[in-house]
Point group: C2
Chain length 233, copies 2
């Protein structure tokens, strides 16, 4: 198989991290198969961003949006359940304690995303799945840790036809031990289109600049000595 | 927490095996939370059967059907892809060789089912997930093996809030090492409503009696010395 034919599935949210994964997968020489999950996030901007990113990389035709409306039905997270408030960074009482699992944790989310990506990878013949998890900024999320990713790879090797046949799908986590500033420097080096992304939890037209996710992003650009190309309200 | 409040999620297809799992979970004293996956199977009879089984156990109100239409979109299995023929047991040329993975294998299916069941279990506070996998009759399916199930439990312990907090969700596989005849004897002892189930791959009103799945079922009843209560064409 030639270098050009190697395929990778990229779990793409339209945020900064997953879009940087598109850059890493492209740089590694993969044909890109982006997959986006519509899990009843409170806003639609992410999905539009993901599509714009896919278009930027010339792969809109094979970009897939997977509807997981049942996650909203299950509830249990501030990102999918209207009854739970999204924390802000300004001392909001709903913010979690140090070491606690955040209210924005979606139960079993990354396991679910990786399972679906595995089915997709197996059917298109992709050898790798990229996921933009990060163990530094999201240390409270159990499913962003390296030991979780390693264990899912072991499961995938046992669960899939390609794994049983000796060619298991690998999970690529190029961001997992990078700071936000390091991610952004790498992304800018690879011409990742950050102007198309947003990281805001609150889903307004303009990013709020105040939620945990906006705050991390802005600090990342600042630490990297770069300007964030998107608008804030 | 009292015995009555212990909850289990049961992955219910409306077939013989998963319906027997309802019996095992009830016998173990669990409140039953059945979950059924609509993954573009070729027929709708399974979904109706699953609902009838939930009704039989008095839990129709909390019975959930989860739509996974994207699996049909992915293709890659005789059960979801019209381009791949379902094998019959009469020497059809599409039947797999000994030791090969069957064409009815759905890529990554049980990993996906267990991932969704994990999200559901975590949000309802269930301590166990029942899945009717069987390592004897389905030895060609990589995701029916005990080592796969054990590894998924390890992943779930790492990936979930309850796992991190020291109360991981367990996966119950009461059928995994039973013959079909043993499953049926246990089910009849527990008054499992086999008259509501079908196992046929071909999805006609009456079971075909000829596909691999019908054949296994009929042999199971025969070996158990019991009559199968459903009609065959």
């Amino acid at each position: 198989m030639s270098q050009q034919e190697r395929k990778a599935v990229i779990i793409l949210s339209g945020g900064l991290d997953s879009t940087t994964c598109m850059g890493f997968a492209k740089e590694a020489g993969y044909e890109l198969y982006p997959i986006t999950f519509d899990y009843g996030q409170r806003h639609r901007i992410e999905l539009n961003n993901a599509r714009s990113v896919a278009r930027h990389y010339g792969v809109e035709d094979r970009f897939k949006i997977i509807s997981l409306g049942f996650l909203r039905d299950f509830g249990g997270s501030a990102l999918t359940d209207d009854a739970i408030a999204v924390p802000r960074s300004d001392g909001d009482a709903t913010e979690q304690e140090e070491g606690e699992i955040p209210v924005t944790y979606v139960p079993g989310r990354n396991l679910l995303f990786l399972s679906i990506a595995t089915s997709f990878a197996e059917t298109v013949g992709a050898e790798a799945i990229y996921i933009g998890v990060n163990a530094l900024d999201y240390s409270g999320y159990p499913d962003c840790r390296p030991e979780f990713i390693a264990k899912v790879e072991e499961v995938m090797a046992l669960a899939t036809k390609v794994g049983v046949e000796g060619k298991p799908i690998s999970i690529k986590t190029p961001l997992i031990m990078l700071t936000k500033a390091q991610i952004i420097r790498e992304g800018i080096r690879m011409d990742v289109p950050y102007q198309l992304t947003t990281s805001c939890y609150n889903g307004e037209e303009k990013a709020c600049g105040e939620c945990e996710s906006c705050r991390l992003r802005l600090k990342g650009f600042s630490d990297a000595g770069m300007a964030d190309p998107i608008a804030y309200s």
